[in-house]
């Protein structure tokens, strides 16, 4: 079998090396700490925001401010110091921290004015709100909602990285085929077949399958890379990866 590019260094199983955002959050080096915080916020901003909006029933502006405060607290202090990878997944721990933080905020409401209206990440709240309106009620379980939004964040980061990578390597067409086949499915609609894609992009069918194989492999690698950096231990990473891609234990 041929394929679009040479196999990656770690084509199967899980990536072996990873830099941990959680370790770097505690770094003495401020630059490192800020970079880790940015990665954490990029992956968790959306689930945190949705959780505040739906679970705590907070309006849009306050939810935005609370989410921001929460991450600022993570950057400034020792918010996640108590995290023990042996006891819980980081995702679960973060949500517990968030609930505790929100409970305290609710108790202290009015004592101090929150916010300042600083948007620290280029997140389109309007888009998140539109999604919440469309899907929010379908996930009544807060765990389910938080998990779904977290997966969406992670996949968004991986897809954006893939788009950038493809653009840098002159592989825009590979990304476009992937986008058409896997990113734009409409609920209930039939997905395009290889034949449809070949006709649409004026490519031989073998090329379509090669492009898709390449893009899916890279997407998976990028998603797992990001996931690895957000987990507290190898065990947590493996268990999250299995859950993420529906892969049961060997």
């Amino acid at each position: 079998m041929t394929h679009d590019s040479a196999p990656t260094d770690q084509p199967r199983g899980f990536p072996l090396t990873r830099h941990s955002v959680l370790v770097e959050l505690k770094s003495e080096d401020r630059e490192k700490r800020e970079r880790a915080w940015e990665s954490l916020a990029a992956a968790y901003w959306r689930p945190v925001y949705c959780h505040i909006r739906l679970r705590w029933n907070v309006d849009r502006e306050d939810a935005q401010d609370l989410a921001q405060d929460f991450f600022l607290r993570a950057l400034g202090g020792h918010f996640f110091d108590g995290y023990d990878p042996g006891r819980a997944r980081f995702r679960t721990f973060l949500r517990t921290c968030l609930d505790r933080f929100l409970a305290n905020e609710q108790r202290d409401a009015g004592r101090e004015k929150r916010g300042g209206g600083i948007i620290f990440l280029p997140i389109d709240v309007g888009e998140v709100e539109a999604d919440l309106l469309a899907n929010g009620s379908s996930a009544s379980d807060p765990d389910q909602l938080f998990h779904r939004e977290w997966v969406r964040s992670l996949f968004t980061l991986a897809v954006d990285a893939l788009r950038e990578e493809c653009a840098g390597a002159g592989k825009e067409i590979q990304f476009s085929v992937f986008e058409r086949a896997d990113l734009l499915p409409v609920e209930g609609a039939e997905r395009p077949s290889y034949r449809d894609l070949a006709a649409e992009f004026e490519l031989p069918m073998t090329q379509v399958t090669n492009y898709l194989a390449f893009a899916r492999r890279e997407f998976r690698r990028l998603a797992l890379e990001r996931l690895a950096s957000l987990c507290g231990s190898e065990e947590e990473y493996q268990s999250e990866a299995r859950e993420l891609f529906g892969i049961g234990p060997p």
């Binding site: 079998m1 041929t2 394929h3 679009d4 196999p7 260094d9 770690q10 084509p11 199967r12 199983g13 899980f14 280029p122 997140i123 389109d124 888009e127 999604d131 899907n135 379908s138 779904r148 997966v151 969406r152 996949f155 968004t156 897809v159 954006d160 788009r163 896997d182 990113l183 734009l184 499915p185 409409v186 609920e187 209930g188 997905r191 077949s193 290889y194 031989p204 069918m205 073998t206 399958t209 090669n210 898709l212 194989a213 899916r216 492999r217 997407f219 998976r220 998603a223 493996q238 990866a241 299995r242 993420l244 891609f245 529906g246 892969i247 049961g248 234990p249 060997p250």
Partner: protein, 346 residues
């Protein structure tokens, strides 16, 4: 920033694990099932314009040992040409190093699901075909080792297919006769693949992945024999499959809940049959699936079964039930005759 809908989210989770078939022959349509080490996909064979099933190792389960096992499973299936065993069409390796094989797409329902609405006599006839299939495999030197209703499919026309030969045991002489060369080649292939992908190349140098180490427990609780539960690999032979067949028979007769109390007297011989098949000591079981099937066939023909010592009353009932029509005819004749004699005497 990309916007990912719920539908796209699910799709991405699925396709990330899909086999990357970088050729134009098979087109993956979707996943249809997941086993212990592999996932089965529905695929379209464009060359022959038909749907096929493609079994591929899951990424997380992909090791040199499981790759050898999957190849071995494909080779075993290819050797077992029988209507009750799914034929294999193709074996290959994906660009990411995972092994896959392509087989006939099985359409049907699992035996335990089929059994819910089926009549007992139909189920027993199906059971005979299962025994025949396993008997055939044993004749080829292959012991299944994981027989259970979930691994047996019943097709739309009542055909029986025994699936999942992933942990089958092949007799030494059969390996020598047919598989040794192929397995040696597989092992070399796995080592090459490992070096290519940076995996543990040295592991299989000393370890024959196609053999099961003593103490390894392979099978499904409730259906595996005591010797399998103990991990007593050397003791596992055709009679271990007989044990599992006994457990399957028990499930077919009693249902998933195992309602033994509901068993009526006419079913007692069947209970004796599965009890004999499931004897803790292999020597006390039927020696082969054929012997087990013969006893079930005797039951179906209302003959005395080998496993059950029939009380006189039950024997009488069985004979009456079997010869109901001739007995009724004789009785009718005698009644007429008596009536005739009585009326003539008057």
């Amino acid at each position: 920033m990309t916007r990912i809908s719920n539908a796209a989210l699910e799709r991405l989770r699925d396709v990330a694990e899909w086999p990357e078939l970088s050729n134009d022959r098979y087109e993956i349509v979707g996943a249809v099932g997941q086993g212990g080490m592999g996932t089965v996909f529905l695929a379209r064979d464009r060359e022959l314009e038909r749907e096929v099933a493609l079994k591929v190792l899951r990424s997380a389960a992909s090791t040199p040992e499981t790759a050898l096992r999957l190849r071995r499973e494909a080779r075993i299936l290819a050797r077992l040409e029988h209507p009750g065993i799914v034929p294999v069409h193709d074996v290959g390796r994906l660009p990411d190093g995972r092994v896959y094989y392509v087989m006939k797409l099985v359409r049907g329902v699992r035996l335990d699901h089929y059994a819910r609405d089926a009549v007992l006599t139909d189920l027993l006839r199906l059971f005979l075909r299962i025994c025949e299939t396993i008997g055939f495999a044993h004749a080829q030197g292959v012991v299944h080792r994981d027989l259970k209703p979930g691994n047996i499919m019943v097709g739309a026309f009542g055909e029986v297919l025994v699936l999942d030969w992933g942990i089958a045991k092949v007799a030494v002489e059969a390996v020598e006769a047919v598989g040794a060369v192929g397995e040696a080649a597989d092992e070399a292939d796995e080592k090459t693949a490992d070096r290519r992908t940076g995996g543990p190349a040295d592991e299989t140098d000393e370890d024959d992945a196609t053999k099961t180490a003593p103490g390894t427990i392979l099978g499904t609780p409730g259906f595996m024999s005591p010797e399998q539960e103990r991990g007593d690999v050397d003791q596992i032979d055709a009679r271990s499959d007989v044990y599992s067949l006994g457990a399957v028979l028990r499930l077919l007769v009693t249902g998933a809940e195992g309602q033994l109390a509901r068993l009526s007297a006419p079913l007692r011989p069947l209970r004796a049959i599965w009890r004999k098949a499931m004897a803790p000591i292999p020597a006390d079981r039927y020696p082969s699936p054929q012997a087990l099937a013969e006893d079930v066939a005797r039951y179906l023909d209302a003959q005395p079964v080998e496993a059950y010592k029939e009380p006189l009353l039950e024997k009488g009932r069985r004979i009456v039930s079997k010869y109901q029509t001739p007995i009724l005819l004789v009785l009718a004749y005698l009644a007429m005759r008596i009536l005739f004699l009585v009326t003539r005497g008057m």
